[in-house]
Symmetry: C2
Subunit: 447 residues, 2 copies
């Protein structure tokens, strides 16, 4: 099947577009969204689309963004359609909201798209996600043991549609070439996010030596995994998530129970459980008597007879913790149920390196250095950016960390000075600047 | 946790061994089953095992098997335990039963083990399968899009137990070295089965660059996938599989329906559906009116109103089929819902190459050759091994191929002579022998 047939097939198979709809394209200037634009315009009449427009959000993260914004307007003018553009300082918001740049970028993008939908009366957002993206996403989650993610994304999720769902990157490239579609080469936004690139360039080609139609196999797997997940989601959708305990004798099936516990804990205390923790909870359920499992944010899940309930434990002052770590190591922080990666970075991109909640970097360039990760101690002091030294306790109060959690927050230290209240705030020691060549970075990851 | 702890942990977690049991080890002389033997003997008293013995089946496929059989007896003598050994000509059985050597090997091995269990009153069969095997198996199925296989094997299946379930190959090797455990290096039995080797040596190391604890992630994924599958299996276990049709309005949930259809069709006509076919069946269900999908063995699945039923279609004489294929190509044989791979092999291992049901090889060594795969034609003749030329029709009758299926059996031909009744019988044209250097092989695979 050729590109245009597959494009129309996906729209037909998943009812992506109905008559008389206004479609907003999540435009990035890259080949995917450029081919998407071309195809939607080519089949505008055939599909009875009322209007097509481009939306481009300038994240103010890369210098190329200015050119991309202009390019977007040029493309729209060329095709006689509207272009909505906006500039948002993602970095600043990420800093303020203590979120990752990637997360804020995604959130702001969809906020922007949905604003246009509302204001300009558009019906759907069309994105350039394609079959190779799907296969990559599924592979990445499989590698990381994230069972929930293996199913990949769907061709239609709420008002988001993905008409390139049946097309591989190769087919999209070749089509762009054949039709002389103009686009800008994708620039990888986050140089330190190396996993997807490794999957794309090193792993998928190896998988295809075993199964040349891996992308199509992924497509079919995704379909069936989604059937299973939809089934289970429906099974638990009516469960009251605000209950204070789960009655185990009411939910005998473990496949239902683990999903329910996962959803319930997220609702109650905002933790996304790792599958490892989730497994230890299910193990707990199978044992007799009263047992407990530490989950996150200093909460315990307690099993007493036929009930599971949550309990915020007072931290035990006697269990002082301290670990030593070096660059190129990883360490599991059981206090947070997260993994901390330590790595060296050469010629870092300053823009990407300032999200202090999940990743921090320091201009420390010496050999054989080591860092300590430890519990707070009496007399600890901390130096925030642009401020003088403060009592650590006062900083923690400013950060709204509850008193009974403070002993469980790991601190990154170097020469016994606190560099980072891990997951919360970095100090202004060893800051990176334009001249930084070799920096050491610390990144928090899900287990 | 060290090796011995993990070994005991698995036995404890999954109740692999109960007091006073007799354990038969599926012994191969390789490092896995040798370490397994060592550990079971070391903890024989602690685990209150009544008796431990080795079982080795000599497949008569490789010259090393004789030495392995002797080695098994020596090991048993050294440890003062019994060794059960037997010789079975797997090749011959495979030929007779028209199955693959791998399949017959597996079947005969477990037949042998179960005979001993019965005769000598043993309780369990212990195999050397370990955590790296699990991760490999899951990865291999993921790559091939076999959703059902992704869950991997369980630590306990009926009377088979896998006490090395928590141990990686590396841990097993290191332990063997540390304890100076004797074993014979594994020899890959089937040189042409390259997939598992590729996964083991090229793919898993790449995955571990992203997730160094991939094996442990696989372990946890396997646990949850098995919970899901166990749930669904239970949901459909009471369904009467001998019914002539499925009432669609009685099974509204697609996650249940696709598993039920899969099981039903296997029960009714013995076909293992590919996920691709299964998807087209589910698509069928969603459309209105009467529709049909070709499945296998010349059967159609028909959807009429709210019913699904099977129908054996008379073959349509007008749809003569013929394809051209060359070495290093693959072709999808829609008549069988299978993939045929064509490849050249240098210095083939004769022993492995004589299973005529799934793979055949020919001593054809020329360049730019091509083969035709086609429907039978009037006047077709076939030359079985050690026989004169016969009418193809008579050969098909001997092979018990039903009359209305004969037009749908693809024939592999070269210079218009039939080389292979695909999936059934090869001719004695271009046989391979000790002097064959370059041969061309054809292998049937699942989609």
């Amino acid at each position: 099947m050729n590109v245009e047939k597959k494009f129309l097939q996906a729209i037909n198979d998943f009812n992506l577009i109905s008559e008389n709809e206004k479609i907003l394209i999540a435009y990035s200037t890259g080949v995917d969204s450029s081919v998407l634009t071309y195809l939607l315009l080519k089949f505008k009449n055939y599909l009875k689309i009322k209007e097509i427009a481009l939306a481009y959000l300038n994240h103010k993260l890369r210098k190329e963004a200015e050119e991309e914004e202009i390019f977007t307007k040029e493309v729209a003018e060329k095709f006689g359609i509207k272009a909505f553009t906006k500039q948002v300082n993602i970095k600043e918001i990420a800093k303020k909201e203590k979120k990752s740049v990637e997360q804020v970028g995604r959130e702001e993008r969809y906020k922007f798209f949905n604003e246009i939908l509302k204001k300009e009366d558009f019906d759907k957002i069309a994105t350039g996600h394609h079959l190779s993206d799907l296969a990559e996403t599924m592979t990445l989650w499989f590698i990381q043991g994230n069972k929930k993610g293996i199913k990949g994304f769907k061709p239609k999720e709420k008002n988001i549609i993905r008409p390139l769902y049946y097309l591989t990157k190769e087919e999209i490239y070749n089509y762009a070439k054949e039709k002389q579609i103009e686009y800008k080469e994708d620039i990888t936004n986050y140089s330190v996010d190396f996993k997807r690139n490794k999957v794309r360039h090193e792993i998928i080609p190896k998988l295809k030596e075993i199964n040349p139609s891996f992308e199509n196999s992924a497509l079919i797997m995704s379909y069936f995994f989604n059937l299973d997940e939809d089934y289970f989601n429906k099974k638990i959708e009516n469960f009251d998530l605000l209950v204070d305990f789960i009655e185990l004798n009411q939910i005998k099936e473990k496949a239902i129970l683990y999903r329910l516990i996962d959803k319930w804990i997220y609702e109650k205390i905002g933790c996304k459980l790792s599958y490892k923790t989730l497994k230890s909870i299910i193990d707990l359920v199978e044992t007799g008597g009263t047992k407990k499992v530490k989950i996150c944010n200093n909460y315990y899940l307690i099993k007493e007879y036929d009930r599971l309930y949550l309990n915020l434990e007072k931290s035990d002052k006697t269990t002082y913790f301290e670990y030593t770590v070096k660059p190129n190591e990883k360490i599991y922080l059981k206090e947070m149920d997260k993994i901390l990666e330590i790595f060296k970075l050469s010629n870092p991109n300053l823009e990407d390196l300032k999200n202090e909640k999940e990743m921090v970097c320091f201009d420390i360039d010496s050999k054989d250095i080591e860092f300590k990760i430890r519990q707070r101690k009496k007399g600890d002091r901390f130096k925030p950016f642009g401020s003088s030294w403060k009592k650590l306790k006062d900083v923690m109060i400013d950060l709204k960390i509850p008193a009974d959690m403070r002993d469980n927050i790991p601190l990154l230290t170097f020469k016994d000075k606190i560099l980072w209240i891990i997951g919360y705030k970095r100090s202004d020691l060893y800051p990176i600047n334009e001249n930084s060549k070799n920096v050491i970075c610390f990144k928090l990851k899900e287990v």
